[in-house]
Symmetry: C2
Subunit: 348 residues, 2 copies
Amino acid sequence: MGGDHGPSVVVSGVSIAIGLLRDVPVRFLLHGDEALIAAELNRHPLAKAVCDIRHTDKVVAMDEKPAQALRRGKGTSLWNAIEAVKTGEAQGAVSAGNTGALMAMSKLILRMAAEMDRPAIVANWPTMQGVSTVLDAGANIQCDAAQLVEFAIMGEAYHRAMHGVARPTVGILNVGSEDQKGHEEVREAHRLLRESNLDMDYRGFVEGNDLAKGTVDVVVTDGFTGNVALKTAEGMARFFASEMRGALTSSLMSKIGAVIASGALKKMRAKLDPSSVNGGPLLGLNGVVVKSHGGADDRGFANAIKVAANLARSHYAEEFKASMSQLGDVLVHAPAEARLAGSEETPE
Amino acid sequence: MGGDHGPSVVVSGVSIAIGLLRDVPVRFLLHGDEALIAAELNRHPLAKAVCDIRHTDKVVAMDEKPAQALRRGKGTSLWNAIEAVKTGEAQGAVSAGNTGALMAMSKLILRMAAEMDRPAIVANWPTMQGVSTVLDAGANIQCDAAQLVEFAIMGEAYHRAMHGVARPTVGILNVGSEDQKGHEEVREAHRLLRESNLDMDYRGFVEGNDLAKGTVDVVVTDGFTGNVALKTAEGMARFFASEMRGALTSSLMSKIGAVIASGALKKMRAKLDPSSVNGGPLLGLNGVVVKSHGGADDRGFANAIKVAANLARSHYAEEFKASMSQLGDVLVHAPAEARLAGSEETPE
């Protein structure tokens, strides 16, 4: 029921996801208004064959505060979707709804794995090399050094499980590459990762331009910086697309040129299409939860489903557990204040 | 003598800047190795006619720590360039050299205007609407609310003086637009700007995607976030350019299309060309100092010269003084802790 478009995008997204996940038998529980969902399913027979509707007429509004959503959340479509992961009826939940409510309910229902404070959201970042894992993309507005170390460990486990890279490279986002650059938190996390005996290919600090370059597989940052960087890049992508559209329709000659080069331009657009990387897993929970962009179209939502399905089928849970068991060793090196609890901020 | 290319780019940049500043009589003092500079000037007769060489064989290395550069800085080309602004012999200084040393020396020689702690660096950000003023782009890694308010005031004065906009719109960069979003510092700065009687068109919070959109004229942020956002955008721009080049040379058809559309594509590239926005003024000093990107080419350096010349000719100094006199009124609303001194970080 969530997102800017509700069931129409979700059901059409399911239909597309079936194609994306061709070799994987996948079934869906669709939580929400039965009449609305059934009407959409009638337009998508492929989806209808693999979907069960779980009716509820309670929904979480997109602008509801997380605390309020929690209080009256039980029985909403969002709650039921996460609850199904808890009971084992579903192997993962996907939502385009209220991010703050999704985070809060996921934490309450599924609980955090290990001693983590709250989940981190992953952004799958298209780069010149392929795709990088960037976290946190906005859940934890202020992060201490210990949290950044947790993100490094979770992100590395995620990247290995999802992309089959045996030893993903890891970096911390900073304003320069030297040890003394940046603020206390990044310097301390840098020191902890350097001095620990973690089995991790930690490469040190990276900068903003390394995101598009794909210098490392996993980029660690606090949720404030990660959110700004992600939205800045999205804004630049739209700017660039609009400039290109403008240039290629500015004259008869440019239009002719664009038609002739259209095959190559189409391929390029597909590669840079934001829907191809939509779907940010919430890491740190006992269970798979994936956030779709609220404004995602059906192809974008299908990609979020693909991310959830692949994550559920992967060895992420074991990778994560094994890696987190190393965390204690790292934080032995941490001063007491680096162990303080994380932020109380409300994410988007 | 600074930057990745030294005098060759500087002298060629001067030559190009003369063209950019056609209607403005402008003369140059070139500080550095006389033999090297003279050799370059012989290749640029246009520049030679308006340049005086101020010889010194002392230079600040690009990787020198600011503290070290300060200790042995006297008499270096960087020092002498800033000193010339102090004495009034020059109306502005431009350098592609060591940013940390430039900041530290500028602060020592020119002193901060008002009670500011250290300068903020402006990024001139190309947007769908034109150009926005984004600050701080990397000088102040950690900022309290009072500093963010100072950036708003300085940035607004700068934008008005440089772009002739009577009432520039101002926003604070955050992870969402609601009052309760973000960390303590941005929320407090937001409150101060909202509740003050500043004569400013303050529009509230903006997000990363608003940078390319050009939603507001002046975007206020701490130096850590600003630096990451700026470099993220630069990285994305290079990524797109490389993808486009790749697409338009991928087949005979796309090559033919690209040739036919080349006029329009060239115009687009010019608009998105980073050299067209190179040159970040250091605001808050008693005098004009502009930082050029170390890797800038001669067109980029010429643009940094243009920024310095336009800033020196503008009413910025008076605008700034008038605006800063309002600052006291704003900070009356600030709790004591928001008046704590700024960061001790070393910028790039």
